[in-house]
């Protein structure tokens, strides 16, 4: 292989080198999760196409206000994580850690709201095996719920460890907080598609 030596791939000096936020490993996880959720979204859409009356009845019982409030919680949590990473990069440890705790707290609010929604649905007699709609509803939102829970633990762990490990300042010192933030943003990104699919268009 001599081609790489023959082709100098130098970028113009004005353009910064491409940089991937966070660890490469988290990006492979993000890739796998997005493919899995993408498939589940398509399965939900096709099942809805095949049984329109069933899905219409199921979706009509969902609370759009709660879905919208949950969207706002996740978007705000994602924003807080960005502000946290930016603060840590500027070596503002206290502010950065506060933002990350804030992001984790918003995630907890989402989990509480979603748990209440599950409880209400269960109480109304809608179980995992009630019909196709409820099976897919619980699988899709439940799988997402678990990802929110994992992201909350990740963010809280990073917020707790950051001052102890000195994860603030320039260069690679914010690598771990960035990695947690990338996972959290992915959870947000998935919900941004899930919200209109399950809650808005019914």
């Amino acid at each position: 292989m001599t081609s790489s030596a023959a082709l100098p791939l130098q970028r113009p000096a004005a353009l910064p080198e491409p940089r991937l936020a966070g660890d490469l490993a988290i990006w492979f996880i993000v890739g796998i999760e997005m493919l899995t959720f993408g498939l589940m979204f398509i399965v939900f859409s096709v099942a809805r196409l095949r049984e329109p009356a069933l899905f219409q009845a199921g979706q009509a019982t969902l609370d759009l206000h709660l879905g919208a409030a949950n969207t706002a919680l996740l978007l705000t949590g994602s924003w807080a994580a960005v502000r946290g990473v930016l603060a840590l990069r500027r070596d503002r440890m206290q502010a950065g850690v506060r933002w990350l705790w804030g992001a984790a707290a918003l995630g907890v609010c989402f989990l509480v709201a979603k748990s209440l929604e599950y409880r209400a649905k269960m109480a109304a007699g809608h179980d995992l095996d009630s019909d196709t709609f409820w099976t897919l509803y619980y699988l899709l939102t439940g799988f997402h719920f678990l990802h929110v829970a994992a992201a909350v633990l990740f963010l809280a762990g990073v917020a707790w460890l950051a001052p102890r490990r000195g994860w603030a300042g320039g260069g690679d010192r914010t690598h771990v907080p960035e990695t947690a933030a990338v996972f959290w943003h992915m959870v947000d990104l998935l919900w941004v598609v899930l919200f209109p699919l399950v809650y808005v268009l019914r």
Partner: protein
């Protein structure tokens, strides 16, 4: 981009995404029964916009190696049109 500019940009995007969510909520609330085509395009168009903002700005894919940016944007450009197509087919 300096720090202050970047923070202002992130804050503006956050507000824009909250506004987009409010608009989706309004579209969902304002009508009952089968969604008209405009509502389907509007709601998933807003989702696409939010997805772009999260991917390019929050996940910092704008300045990332092209392969990752293409993967995430490509995912949005494949998954959302398929969902829209199934919704349109139901009408």
């Amino acid at each position: 981009m300096n720090d202050d500019k970047l923070r202002r940009r992130i804050d503006r995007l956050w507000w824009a995404m909250l506004a987009a969510t409010a608009l989706s909520w309004w579209i969902g609330e304002a009508r009952a029964g089968a969604a008209p085509a405009w509502a389907i395009f509007a709601v998933f168009g807003l989702a696409f916009g939010k997805g772009l903002a999260i991917a390019l700005e929050f996940m910092e894919l704008r300045g990332a190696p092209a392969v990752w940016r293409r993967f995430v944007l490509g995912w949005l450009m494949v998954v959302l049109p398929i969902i829209v197509a199934t919704h349109l087919a139901m009408r």
